[in-house]
């Protein structure tokens, strides 16, 4: 008898589409044999018949539609056959007929490109966790007040309001950076407040320009006047699962141990690494870290303990309120796409390209971004400035990036490949030379006066560009002494929630034989950052008149 049942079942299997049958047919037959006793033949047969209908339904859609079926929680996806149930009920028939109608609608829309898009669109924002119709209320605490002040100033996009906020509450920020961030994001909607203490508030935001969600944490001083101690906003990366943990003693120990290991192994100066490790151990022994249960606060505390010794602003312990991928440095295809989209939205950090009066070229660049993505954007900007009589690079809001992009832009200022720096890397114990590229055909900037505008927040790669050109006597630096960060960083994973950026290498300039770590780059003409452009224009003007 069971042989007949199996034959019958196999017959139903044979009626399935070939692709499905060849992939799963054998497994289904095996499962049928295993399940026959406990599930009963009729239930299994009904299940196989329903599968048959569904598979032919799916099959008749285009391959593209099928790919969308899962991501869009397709109509066919909701089936849950209860085998213990009796025969088909009225509900089943109704559901079947509704499905047929819907299936035809889907097919109809599938043939129509506009309609297909309609199916593909998902009400993603409505699904955003924590989002409510009315804006969530901000707690009436010192930290809450600071958050309110920031949101009001930031979302207004008004430079005067942002300046007031920066001056009174968050002096570590600059108006320029805030305005750029505002322009990029379009401002933020507050989705929810996830944690509130008197001096700490955690929250979720959504960019107005995109569906990107951001997790934020703001901590303020307990003393008057209330100012910001730390303020982080991290966009949720692809695949992130939010899980803001409470630290216990074991987790704190794991983070301290991981930090010590990574410092001793990778930090560019072994002796400084050792001193930092000693300081961390001393703080741990004296119980300074014991009470911290908040990940962000703990990461800030340890970062400060290390920086008190090394003064290295590139060194950073980072807490993620979401689980860190196993290999944080390995870029997935989605990461790559997202990075390119991000660069496109932010025009590769290129804020302005202009020709000022008296044919002076002006380029405001807020980051030296990876040439593999940003080369064409930068080359187009430099081409636009090819006929100017002098050029000003405005790096006052430039916080760094890739040494390769520094070399690419420097190339326009030299008529031969020029040695910029030796890049020493401790973990490989190797030195790589950084040179400008071969001369650009048709480039006319080689002998034109060049100026670089700097501020106290010009940092890292922005400083390298300034330092290189200053030492090669190829540009006049105008503005303020820069931030003083020369080391390059490699990130290491500590555990699911903590990672550490360890400065592992340094540039060694062939002219000065050193770098600008801790000292910053001193400008040739010292003026306030706000006056730097005007000063540089005058300098260029004078120089051009003398010609």
């Amino acid at each position: 008898m069971s042989v007949i049942k199996r034959r019958l079942y196999e017959l139903v299997l044979r009626l399935h589409p070939v692709a499905f049958r060849s992939e799963f047919g054998r497994e289904m037959a095996l499962d049928f044999s295993d399940a026959l006793q406990s599930y009963g033949f009729s239930a299994l047969l009904r299940d196989a018949l329903l599968s048959l209908v569904r598979q032919w339904g799916v099959c008749s859609m285009s391959a593209a539609m099928e790919r969308r079926a899962v991501p869009n929680a397709c109509l066919l996806d909701g089936h849950y056959v209860m085998i213990s149930q009796g025969g088909l009920t009225l509900f089943d028939y109704l559901r079947g007929s509704t499905l047929s109608v819907l299936l035809f609608s889907v097919l109809g829309l599938g043939l129509n490109p506009a309609g297909a898009n309609m199916i593909y669109l998902r009400p993603g924002r409505e699904n955003a966790p924590g989002q409510t119709l009315a804006p969530p209320s901000i707690p009436d605490t010192p930290a809450g007040h600071a958050l309110r002040a920031w949101l009001d100033a930031f979302n207004s996009g008004d430079p005067a309001k942002i300046e007031t906020y920066v001056k009174t509450i968050d002096p570590a920020q600059t108006v320029g950076s805030e305005l750029n961030f505002r322009k990029y994001t379009g401002g933020f909607n507050l989705l929810s407040v996830t944690r509130s203490e008197p001096y700490l508030v955690k929250f979720r935001l959504q960019e107005k320009n995109s569906p990107t969600e951001v997790i934020g944490s703001l901590r303020v001083t307990a003393t008057q006047p209330v100012t910001v101690l730390s303020f982080s906003t991290s966009p949720l990366p692809p695949n992130a699962v939010v899980n803001d943990i409470e630290l216990d003693a074991a987790e704190r120990q794991r983070v301290i141990d991981g930090t010590l290991t990574n410092l001793e192994k990778y930090y560019v100066y072994p002796d400084v690494a050792h001193k930092m490790a000693q300081a961390l151990l001393a703080h741990e022994k004296s119980g300074d870290d014991q009470t911290q249960t908040d990940g962000g606060t703990f990461a800030d505390l340890l970062t400060r303990q290390m920086r008190d010794v090394s003064h290295d602003r590139h060194l950073m312990l980072i807490y993620n309120p979401f689980r860190t991928p196993e290999h944080p440095l390995a870029s997935t295809p989605q990461d790559e796409v997202a990075f390119r989209e991000h660069m496109e939205r932010n025009n590769c950090g290129l804020e302005k390209v202009e020709i000022l009066p008296r044919n002076i070229g002006y380029l405001k660049l807020n980051g030296f971004n990876d040439p593999s993505v940003c080369r064409s954007t930068v080359v187009a900007a430099m081409n636009r400035l090819r006929d100017v009589d002098a050029i000003i690079f405005d790096l006052r809001d430039n916080h760094g990036g890739s040494p390769d992009m520094v070399a690419l832009i420097c190339t326009y200022l030299f008529d031969h490949p020029t040695h910029l720096n030796d890049m020493y890397n401790r973990s490989e114990n190797a030195t790589r030379q950084s040179w400008t590229l071969p001369p650009v055909p048709g480039n006319k900037l080689v002998d034109k006066p060049a100026y670089v505008l700097t501020s106290a927040s010009t940092f890292s790669g922005g400083e390298e560009f300034s330092y290189d050109l200053k030492n090669l006597k190829r540009a006049t630096l105008v503005g303020e002494a820069t931030g003083g960060g020369a080391h390059f960083v490699i990130e290491h994973r500590i555990d699911d929630h903590f990672r550490i950026g360890v400065p592992s290498g340094r540039p060694i300039n062939p002219v000065s034989k050193t770098d600008w770590e801790g000292t910053g780059v001193t400008p040739d003409v010292k003026v306030k950052a706000g006056d730097a452009l005007e000063t540089a224009e005058k300098l260029a003007d004078n120089k051009l008149q003398k010609k």
Binding site: Y39, A48, P71, V81, G124, V241, Q334, H342, G485
Partner: protein, 130 residues
């Protein structure tokens, strides 16, 4: 070179989480993923585990199972491999991927919120009736 804290972190790619587009899951999909959460199983193993997890209340047959597995495989939530277990020669086993695991976790969070809301509403109704 890493930069200033906000910009540095902000320079990382930012997008909506990948798993968001899979939610909400159908009950069958949820149970299949759940069955694979603790160990890799072959088809019949998944069927038994689903029945066990629901206290025998729900059972899925091979048809429903492979309809779901087909989609889960093509969307990368589940991977398959030929089992090395000699007792069941060359029977395919299925494994939850990292993405599958994060989708499952996100769905659990979502359902938790639904339950919380449901309990709140039901309590409200009870108090009104009283």
């Amino acid at each position: 070179m890493l930069t200033f804290i906000r910009n540095a972190i902000y320079r990382e790619p930012n997008m909506k989480p990948e798993h968001a587009k899979f939610l909400p899951l159908s009950p069958a999909t949820l149970h299949v993923l759940l069955a694979l959460a603790s160990s890799d199983l072959h088809g019949y193993g998944i069927m038994l585990e689903v029945a066990r997890q629901s206290g025998g209340q729900y059972k899925i047959g091979p048809g429903t199972l492979y309809d779901n597995l087909k989609k889960l495989l093509s969307s990368g939530l589940v991977e398959d491999s030929a089992a090395e277990d000699s007792a069941t020669p060359s029977r395919r086993t299925y494994h939850l991927t990292a993405l599958g695991s994060s989708v499952l976790e996100a769905e659990t969070d979502r359902l938790t919120a639904v339950l919380r809301e449901a309990r709140r509403c039901l309590r409200l109704n009870e108090s009104r009736e009283v």
